[in-house]
C-alpha cells in the first residue's frame, strides 16, 4: 500500500485553494478530507521524507493533475459517481489504446484484466485494493492508463520470449543455423568469422561511446521503429532536427567504425568492405556465440 505523508497545518490553506481550483464535480462525492488523503498519498510517494519543506510540497501540488487524482481516489474508495464518470470518460479510451498497443484480440484481454484491477482486488485483510492506489497525479490519468497497458504488454512479450526460448528444443541443442558464422558454406572465407566478430565488436564500442541522447534517438528510430515526428515529440525536437541529428550521428558512427577497423584492426579497404558484406549475409549473428567459440575478442 502506498505510504502517505501527513501535510503540515501551514499547508492547509494551500490545500483548500487547490481543492477549489480542481473544480471536482460534486457527484464524485469527494470531500476535502478525501482530497487531503489523496494529496498526502501523492506527496508521500514523491518525497518519502517527512522533512520536506512546505514550499517544496506547495510547488509540487502545483504540478499535479488534481482532478484526475481526486477521481482516482474516489474510484478506489468505491464512490459510484466517480466510477460512473470514469467508465464514461475513460473506458472507451482504455480499450482503444489497448487495441492500438496489442492488437484487437490480445488488446481486449489486456484491457479487461487492467479494468478488473482498477476496480479492485481483494487483499488479505478483506479491504479492496485498487490499482488506482498507485496513481498520484503526476501525469494525466489517461496517459497513466496507457503507460500501464504499455508496461503490461512489453512485460508479456518478454515473458513469452523467455518461455519460448526455454521451450525451444533447437535452442537447447544450441545450433541455430544463422547463429554460426563459420557455417556459411564450403567456400567460406576462413577469415569470415573473424571479420564478423571484429565488425560487431567495433560497432558495440562505438555505440557505447555515443551521448545518451544520440543513442536514444538512434534506438527509437532503428530499433523501436518510431517515426521522426514521434521521436521529435518525445525528445522535444522538431522532426527536421531529429532527421538531421540522426544522419549526423549515423555518419559519425560509420566513420568511427571504419576508422577503427582500418587503423586499430589494421584492415584494408577491401577487408572492411568484406566485413560489411559478410555482416549482411550472415545477419543476424550471435556475437556471444562467436566470442565464446574464439575464446577472446580479436585484436
Amino acid at each position: 500500500m502506498p505510504t502517505s505523508l501527513q501535510l503540515a497545518p501551514e499547508l492547509r490553506p494551500k490545500l483548500e485553494e487547490v481543492f477549489r481550483r480542481a473544480e471536482i464535480p460534486e457527484c464524485w462525492g469527494c470531500s476535502i478530507e478525501d482530497f487531503t488523503r489523496a494529496v498526502e498519498r501523492s506527496v508521500g510517494a514523491r518525497f518519502r521524507d517527512s522533512q520536506t519543506s512546505a514550499r517544496e510540497i506547495s510547488a509540487y501540488l502545483e504540478t499535479l493533475h488534481l482532478q484526475d487524482l481526486a477521481l482516482s481516489y474516489c474510484c478506489a474508495a468505491g464512490k459510484s459517481g466517480a466510477w460512473e464518470h470514469f467508465v464514461a470518460r475513460f473506458r472507451p479510451e482504455l480499450y482503444r489504446a489497448a487495441r492500438a498497443i496489442a492488437g484487437d484480440s490480445v488488446g481486449r484481454d489486456l484491457a479487461d484484466s487492467l479494468y478488473a484491477e482498477l476496480y479492485g482486488l481483494e487483499s488479505r485483510e478483506g479491504r479492496r485494493r485498487s490499482l488506482f492506489d498507485y496513481f498520484h497525479g503526476r501525469s494525466k490519468l489517461s496517459t497513466w492508463l496507457r503507460a500501464i497497458l504499455a508496461q503490461r504488454h512489453v512485460d508479456e512479450i518478454r515473458r513469452t520470449r523467455r518461455t519460448e526460448s526455454l521451450d525451444d528444443p533447437e535452442s537447447e541443442a544450441g545450433d541455430p543455423p544463422q547463429a554460426e558464422p563459420a557455417a556459411a558454406g564450403d567456400d567460406a572465407d576462413p577469415q569470415r568469422s573473424r571479420y564478423l566478430v571484429l565488425v560487431q565488436t567495433v560497432l558495440a564500442a562505438a555505440l557505447a561511446g555515443l551521448a545518451a541522447r544520440d543513442r536514444l534517438r538512434l534506438a527509437y528510430y532503428y530499433v523501436d521503429d518510431l517515426t521522426l515526428a514521434q521521436i521529435g515529440r518525445l525528445l522535444g525536437e522538431h522532426e527536421a532536427t531529429v532527421s538531421r541529428k540522426l544522419e549526423r550521428v549515423r555518419r559519425e558512427l560509420r566513420k568511427n567504425v571504419d576508422g577503427e577497423l582500418r587503423n586499430k584492426k589494421r584492415l584494408s579497404e577491401a577487408q572492411v568492405q568484406l566485413c560489411y558484406e559478410y555482416a549482411q549475409q550472415e545477419w543476424p549473428f550471435d556475437l556471444t556465440r562467436a566470442l565464446s567459440s574464439k575464446g577472446s575478442i580479436p585484436k
Binding site: 464514461a88 472507451p92 482486488l121 479492496r128 496517459t143 504499455a150 560487431q200 518525445l234 549515423r250 549482411q280
Partner: protein, 409 residues
C-alpha cells in the same frame, strides 16, 4: 540486398547493436506514472535527462515508451513539440474536408431522423411559437431507480471484491451512463468512440431527446390528451411505438410524443404559467417514464436497452435502430451490464435477473434475493455481481447457479 551496399548493411548492424546490449540495463526501471509523466514531458528537466540516459540503454523501458506513443489517439497532441506553420498548413485542407464530411453526415442523419419521426417534428414546429418550453433535456440514460427512488445510490453502488482472475469488471450499471457524462464531468465530454460506450446518445435514446412533458394536472391538457392520443398512436413509426409506456400507467405513462402533441394545442396565453408551475412534475415524469435504460457493450456498434415498457431491445448499429428481443414485460428492470457484445446481464425489482450469452436469447437466472436489485456488473457469462436496494452485494461465479453474499468493504 546488393553486396557492397554498406549503408543498408551498416544500418542493420546498428539496429542489432542497439537492441542487443541495451537489454542488459533493466535495473531501476520506473513505474507507469513516471513513464506517463515523461511522455507528457512534465517531469523536471533533471529527471528527463536522467531518464533519457536510462532509456538509451534499457530496451524494455524504450519499448514501453514506444508502445505508449503508438497508443495515442489520432487527435492527441500531448507533447510540446515545436511545429512549423508550413507543416501544419499541409493538414489544413484534409482536416477541413473531414470536418465538412462529418457535418454533412450529421445533417443527413438528422434529416433521416426527421423523416423517420414525422409526428415529433411536426409537433415541435407547432409548439415552438406557442410555448417557451423548458430547455431540451439531456438524453437520460440512467435507470429510473437511480434518479427517482435513490435506493442504493447515495453510497458506493458496488464495492465488491474480485479475485485476480476476474477480468473485465466494472462498477454497477455504470456503462449505461456513458451518454450522461457531459453534465457531470466539468465540461469534459466523454469519448464515445471505441469500445464500451460507443453509442450515440441521440441515436440511442430517441425518446430521451423529446421536450419535457406538460403538467398532468392541467384540465385543458387532460382533455386534449384523450383526443390526441389515438391519432398519435396511428401515426407513429415502429421505433417510436416501442417507446410508448402502457396507457394504464396514468400520468407516468404519458409519452414524450403525447406531451408534445398536447403542448402544441395549448393556447399561447397559458404556456408561461404552465411551464413554471409544472417544472418539477415534468422532470419527475420524464425520469420515471420516458427514459429507456441504455446498456452499451464493448462493441461500439452493439448495445441493449430496457425500453420504457420493460421490453429488452437490441441495436447493432450504434442505437440507430432497435430490435425487440424480449417483448414481454418481466417487471421493472433497473440496470444492466454487457461485458461483451454477446453477453448481457439485466436486473430489476423483486430480484429479477436475466442473462443472455448469445446476444439473442434471454434466460431468467435464479436470483439470490427477492429484494429489489439496483445494479449489476459482470465480466463474463459466469462472473457477475448484483447489488440489492439495501446495499447487499451478491456474487456468482457460475452464471447464477449459486450466489455468495459479500459485505461491502
Amino acid at each position: 540486398m546488393k553486396p557492397g551496399d554498406n549503408k543498408t548493411g551498416f544500418d542493420a548492424m546498428m539496429r542489432r547493436g542497439l537492441s542487443s546490449d541495451s537489454t542488459q540495463a533493466v535495473q531501476g526501471c520506473p513505474d507507469a506514472e513516471f513513464l506517463a509523466a515523461y511522455y507528457e514531458r512534465s517531469l523536471a528537466p533533471s529527471e528527463i535527462e536522467q531518464f533519457d540516459a536510462h532509456l538509451a540503454t534499457c530496451a524494455s523501458c524504450r519499448a514501453q515508451i514506444a508502445a505508449l506513443v503508438r497508443s495515442e489517439s489520432p487527435a492527441e497532441t500531448p507533447l510540446d513539440a515545436p511545429a512549423s506553420w508550413l507543416w501544419n498548413w499541409r493538414w489544413l485542407a484534409p482536416a477541413v474536408t473531414a470536418i465538412a464530411i462529418v457535418l454533412i453526415w450529421v445533417g443527413i442523419r438528422a434529416h433521416y431522423k426527421a423523416i423517420k419521426e414525422p409526428v415529433n417534428v411536426a409537433m415541435s414546429q407547432t409548439a415552438a411559437p406557442l410555448e417557451p418550453m423548458p430547455q431540451a433535456p439531456q438524453p437520460q440514460l440512467a435507470p429510473p431507480s437511480r434518479t427517482v427512488t435513490g435506493d442504493g445510490l447515495s453510497k458506493p453502488a458496488a464495492t465488491p471484491t474480485f479475485k485476480k482472475k476476474f477480468s473485465g469488471a466494472s462498477p454497477s450499471g455504470l456503462a449505461k451512463q456513458n451518454g450522461e457524462a457531459p453534465t457531470s464531468a466539468a465540461g469534459e465530454p466523454p469519448s464515445l468512440t471505441g469500445e464500451g460506450g460507443g453509442v450515440s446518445s441521440a441515436g440511442g435514446v430517441p425518446g430521451g431527446a423529446a421536450p419535457a412533458p406538460p403538467p398532468p394536472d392541467d384540465s385543458a391538457l387532460t382533455a386534449t390528451l384523450a383526443q390526441s392520443a389515438p391519432a398519435d398512436a396511428t401515426s407513429t413509426t415502429r421505433n417510436a411505438t416501442k417507446l410508448e409506456a402502457p396507457q394504464s400507467s396514468g400520468a407516468g405513462a404519458v409519452t414524450a410524443r403525447h406531451q408534445l402533441a398536447l403542448s402544441a394545442k395549448i393556447p399561447a396565453s397559458n404556456a408561461p404559467t404552465r411551464a413554471k408551475s409544472a417544472e418539477a412534475d415534468q422532470l419527475q415524469v420524464r425520469e420515471e417514464s420516458s427514459n429507456p435504460i441504455l446498456i452499451p457493450s464493448p462493441d461500439a456498434m452493439k448495445s441493449w436497452r430496457i425500453a420504457v415498457s420493460g421490453a429488452i431491445e437490441f441495436s447493432s448499429d450504434s442505437g440507430v435502430t432497435w430490435e425487440m428481443q424480449r417483448p414481454e414485460i418481466v417487471g421493472a428492470m433497473t440496470s444492466g451490464f454487457a461485458p461483451s457484445a454477446r453477453i448481457c446481464w439485466i436486473v430489476g425489482r423483486g430480484g429479477a435477473v436475466l442473462r443472455t450469452v448469445n446476444g439473442i436469447d434471454w434466460i431468467k437466472v435464479i436470483a439470490p434475493t427477492t429484494e429489489d436489485l439496483t445494479a449489476v456488473i459482470a465480466s463474463s457469462a459466469k462472473h457477475a455481481q448484483v447489488t440489492a436496494a439495501g446495499g447487499t452485494v451478491f456474487v456468482t461465479k457460475d452464471g447464477g447457479k449459486s450466489w455468495k453474499q459479500q459485505n461491502n468493504p
